[in-house]
Amino acid sequence: MSVPFLESVLLGAILSGTPLLYAALGEVIEERAGIVNLGLEGVMLMGAVTSFAITVQTGSAALGVLAGATAGSLFNLILALLVVTRRANQLASGLALMFFGVGLSALLGAPYIGSRIAGLNPLEIPTLAHLPYLGALFRSDILVYLAMPAAALVWWGLFRTRWGLSLRAVGENPTAAYAAGYSPRAIQYQALFIAGLFGGIAGAELSIGIAKTWAEWMTAGRGFIAVALVIFSRWHPLRTVWGAVLFGGAVALQLQLQARGASVSPFLLDTLPYLLSLGVVLIWAGGRHHAAPASLGRVFEGTE
């Protein structure tokens, strides 16, 4: 394997890992608050279509990102309404949200198919951009640079702030959190709102950062991949970084192998992230650091 090959795989891993990372960070926040969101796919699509449309209309990619994030969080509040306020089944609600996002984004995006935008400009970091091999990494768009700091920020928010403590308490045992004076419903609403921001940004990176076009269902399953990634990283925001590089790397490796007409089938490699995720959960099963939030997926029936 030549160096340019490894280089392009690594670059590709980081590029395709970036939207996965944002989406997974959002999902970590939600799941830590006790809510599984299988509708992440839809949230990302709404972020992608909104940011693309706003970028076309205003010519400003920054406004596009902002609009995409806002759209993602508002869209995610539908899930909050269903599972927090109406106490509906989380998995069914999430899948319904996904279908809604797929349909609505297709409808909203139809006029923009074929539109061209400059999108997010690459920002060149002076010296680093001319490094051999890794230089291209430092000519990425802003969302790529901000992805890892975002993971650190989520870690800080979840594990070093009072708010994060209350959020995790709600995910583990909402009744106890309620008894301790927190409002589980309010905290879950906040968690879903913030997670929606991340999902929307993930979509924006896809449409105006990477592809610079809009296509129906352009997330192509990345929302589900992000859910798997959260399992892989055992609900920890910093470990999602590794997960995103690994999952993104699988995609990048496949593209590179295909581009080079390799005789090895990439599809077995593609199964690796999922098998690893399963293995990670298996190995840690029953351990004291059993990391899934205890009340994940359950409905908080209230205490009244």
């Binding site: 269903l82 809604f100 599809f267 098998l275 298996l282």
Partner: protein, 343 residues
């Protein structure tokens, strides 16, 4: 919850039926608003959907064609759900069933149809069943929740199918198009009345009947309901819960595998990666709407099949993206989801 749902959605309860009709009416009304906002005439759109699905014989046959995998995947979810197992892996189980079927069709191609068809059907069942049973084993031992493992294994199954279709099983004559060679005629499920409605319909209906009878009329059904009612009490009364987890996952996965078998053996005639437009996930929602109720599964599958088919109508006659019908599907689920749990 599921048992309460089943009670609430029993068809002999007229009130429940009226309520569901009202809720779906609300969803149709909301979607009409969406269509209006998109500058379309909702009355014409609904009229076109109805006339080209339920009120045309070809259209109706295509609805039935879509119902077959949907009923089977819905059962794949509903059966483990009787004891609170959450199977979101019907999609992957369907793919594994299709894979095993394809293997059988290629390796025993010389057999006559009367031997080959039952064989590939059994293989399809086995493929989906074993795939789901892996999750069952991990759950029965308390290692990994079946929700997580079935979700993850969906991707694995789909990639394995891609591996074979792009790799060792690729039909060399179809150039760059990823698909296996066509099945021998003896491995094709017969279709009826000059439509694409195939023998899978009978399989699905038999499966639904057996599901209903086993649950209501047998000791197994009683024990399943006991586990579903109170797992601790069931354990103490000596019911082997681990075995039920395994068997119900296997049977559920097997039915999803049969859905995959029907798609490759009747509809496609060969294995392609684009085997299923998400039948497994739609099946999950159908099972959920129906609360596991047998008639509810049939009715919801019909509804979802009509909506799916309606997408083509909106696309061709009204120049809307075909996936717009996903909005309608989601709105229906939203109204059911928001209404359901109110005491």
């Amino acid at each position: 919850m599921a048992s309460a749902d089943a009670r609430r959605f029993r068809p002999d309860s007229v009130r429940a039926a009226l309520r569901v009709t009202g809720l779906f009416g609300l969803a149709f009304a909301l979607f009409a608003v969406v269509l209006l906002a998109a500058g379309k005439d909702p009355i014409r759109a609904y009229g076109d959907i109805l006339s080209s699905t339920l009120f045309s014989s070809y259209g109706f046959s295509e609805v039935v064609v879509k119902m077959i995998p949907l009923m089977l995947t819905a059962l794949a979810v509903a059966i483990p759900a009787r004891i609170w197992l959450i199977n979101i892996g019907a999609e992957g189980q369907l793919f594994m069933g299709a894979l095993f079927t394809t293997w059988g069709a290629a390796h025993f191609a010389a057999l006559p149809a009367w031997a080959l068809l039952p064989l590939v059907a059994a293989l399809g069942f086995l493929g989906g069943g074993l795939w789901a049973a892996i999750s069952g084993v991990m759950r029965a031992h308390g290692w990994v929740s079946e929700t997580i493992s079935t979700l993850l294994m969906n991707y694995v199954a789909i990639f394995i199918v891609s591996f074979f279709v792009f790799g060792p099983w690729k039909d060399l004559e179809s150039a760059n198009y990823p698909q296996t060679p066509e099945f021998p005629a003896a491995a094709r499920l017969p279709m009826f009345f000059g439509t694409r409605v195939h023998l899978g319909l009978l399989i699905a209906l038999v499966a639904l009947t057996v599901y209903h009878l086993v649950l209501t009329r047998t000791r197994w059904g009683l024990e399943i309901r006991a586990i579903g009612g109170n797992i601790e009490a069931a354990r103490r009364s000596g019911i082997a819960i681990g075995r039920y987890i395994l068997v119900l996952m296997f049977v559920g996965g097997g039915l999803a595998g049969l859905a995959g078998m029907g798609e490759v053996s009747a509809i496609q005639g060969r294995l392609r990666p684009s085997l299923s437009p998400g039948f497994g996930y739609t099946g999950f929602l159908i099972s959920w709407i129906a609360g596991g109720n047998t008639y509810g599964v049939v009715a919801s599958a019909l509804l979802m099949a009509v909506i799916t088919a309606g997408g083509d109508v909106l696309q061709m006659a009204h120049r809307l993206p075909g996936s717009v019908v996903n909005i309608l599907m989601a709105l229906m689920l939203f109204v059911v989801l928001t209404r359901r749990r109110i005491p």
